[in-house]
Amino acid sequence: LESDERLMLRFQGGDVRAFEDLVRRHRTPVFSFLLRLVRERGRAEDLCQETFLRLVRAAGGWQPRAPFRTWLYAVARNLAFDDARRQAFRRVEPLDDPARAAAASDDPAPDRAAEAALVRPKLEAAIAALPDEQREVFLLREHAGLRFHEIAEVTGVPENTVKSRMRYALEALREKLEALGIGPDATARSASR
């Protein structure tokens, strides 16, 4: 598998196919990260698109000093951060807020399929309930697959701070899931399907 950095250099050289490979490889994880970070699909789509457009514009001067993924998620995260500040002026509750969806589906489903379908919104709700700085660390580690020192680069905080936030996030998720009635058994059954 050709590395991200190699693909980016090829794109710098004018190879659009390399850019297509990068998009196919990273667009969904970036979108997933953004969706759970901003908790609004429309905004996540716009931010994801803007992230890759930034990539197109910055490709000419890109230098392979840092891993490509670190750079990509830093762009996505900063775009989301700036967007969140703009959104703070007009607090609109998103229609597809996972927390609301989870709260609306408190009742346990009668069969296992329904149960699995119910687990997911609760997991989403648990993530959504995290403080922003914990949520971004958790998503960058679990969904983007960045290592702790890379998350430190993306977020601009020390690595120890990143790990502290991660511990708090995991503890908060565990407590939230317990409160929502999700234990290891439920997720094990869900994961086995």
Binding site: E20, R27, S32, Q49, V56, R57, R120, E124, E142, L173
Partner: protein, 386 residues
């Protein structure tokens, strides 16, 4: 590692960010520490729970727009440098160094060599790096001088032989030839067209601007350099070899390893062979033998107007090998003569320095160190030192 340090690493262990050795250490600690084991279980359990959350697929409609934008950007972007900037800088620096080295080498190469150098052209002052002619020095050589200084008592050349003054030009005169000034004599032999060959029309203008033939006198026997001069129209047709020697004869393989131009055996070749066969290995004795047998062919070159060094002389055996070299010039206010006898390999076997007037040996006195005699340098008129 302390308990706190182990506990701090539980998160790294759960996320696979420890080396195998560190991971084993922390695992071992967790196995014996109830608190750490419980925390590691909680981390792993929560991770398992959250792993059930699938990745949200990105909407497909945006991809086409991105690719179109990328194609447009790639079209407008100047092509990326195939060679990085640092490599380009390094290449420029290397080229500069190479240029400096080349110039330095050329400067070093311009230093005249020692007397052991067997390059007839250079020995005769025809150095490729010869300086311009001394101011006021007349270019034409008085023909009488060559007669006086001719070393070998040879028959007079055939009427077709080129005028001696035309045979070879000092380097400064040959510059105008436009030909390869540094070509080895052997090579020029090979390239020399036979006299029957019509003079090259291309070469004619090259020699035309030489109204004043250089002062290059030779012994009655045409020197081998005649073939080198053959491409020049005024000389090519007249450049016969003395004693009926076929000018078109190819160069015979020369026994000595040096680049001395060889020549085809000529009329006296049988006598030469006899002399060669009977010649003792001692170069001086061999020289005397050849001289007695009248088999030496001399070339002499004068530098009119050059008080510091009026003449140089070469003698060759019938095979074209240089067997002696002499020059006369001023050392301080004393006129001295340097004479060298060469062995078969072209190395100077004996070098003597004499007072030109008294023939008193001067070897060992200033500045006569044979290898430093700068034998193949241009004539040192201005320095007045030999």
């Amino acid at each position: 590692m302390s308990h706190e340090e182990m506990r701090d690493r539980l998160l790294d262990l759960a996320y696979g960010e420890l080396s195998p050795r560190e991971a084993r250490e922390v695992e071992d600690h967790a196995a014996s520490c109830e608190g750490c084991a419980a925390e590691l279980a909680r981390i792993r359990g929560t991770r398992r729970l959250m792993a059930a959350l699938p990745v949200e697929p990105a909407p497909p409609q945006g991809e086409r727009i991105l690719v179109a934008a990328a194609r447009e950007a790639a079209r407008r972007r100047p092509p990326r440098r195939l060679v990085p900037r640092w490599a380009w800088t390094a290449a420029v620096a290397a080229a500069s160094l190479a240029a400096v080295a080349a110039v330095s080498w050329r400067i070093v190469a311009m230093r005249p060599g020692g007397i052991g150098r067997e390059d007839p052209q250079a020995l005769m002052g025809d150095s490729p790096y010869a300086p311009p002619a001394p101011a006021g020095a007349p270019r034409d050589a008085p023909p009488a001088k060559k007669e006086e200084l001719a070393a070998a008592p040879r028959p007079a050349p055939e009427s077709g032989a080129a005028p001696l003054a035309e045979r070879g030009a000092p380097a400064r005169d040959r510059v105008t030839d436009g030909g390869p000034r540094r070509a080895a004599p052997a090579r020029r032999f090979a390239e020399a067209p036979p006299p029957e060959a019509a003079p090259s029309p291309d070469a004619a203008p090259a020699r035309a601007p030489q109204p004043e033939p250089p002062a290059y006198a030779a012994a009655p026997e045409p020197p081998q350099d005649a073939a080198a001069a053959a491409p020049s129209p005024p000389r090519g047709g007249k450049e016969g070899r003395g004693e009926g020697e076929a000018p078109t004869a190819p160069s015979a393989p020369s026994p000595p390893p040096r680049a001395a131009p060889s020549r085809a055996p000529s009329a006296p070749s049988s006598a030469a062979a006899r002399a060669q066969a009977t010649a003792p290995p001692d170069p001086v004795s061999r020289y005397d033998e050849l001289r007695r047998a009248g088999l030496l062919r001399g070339e002499i070159r004068t530098f009119p107007g050059c008080d510091g060094e009026p003449w140089r002389k070469l003698e060759r055996d019938p095979d074209g090998r240089i067997v002696s070299y002499a020059r006369e010039g001023l050392s301080g206010d004393r006129r001295v003569r340097v004479e060298a006898i060469y062995d078969l390999a072209g190395a100077p076997a004996r070098v003597t320095v004499k007072d030109a007037a008294t023939s008193e040996p001067l070897m060992g006195t200033k500045p006569w160190v044979p290898h430093a005699a700068e034998a193949d340098g241009p004539p040192r008129c201005a320095r007045g030192a030999n």
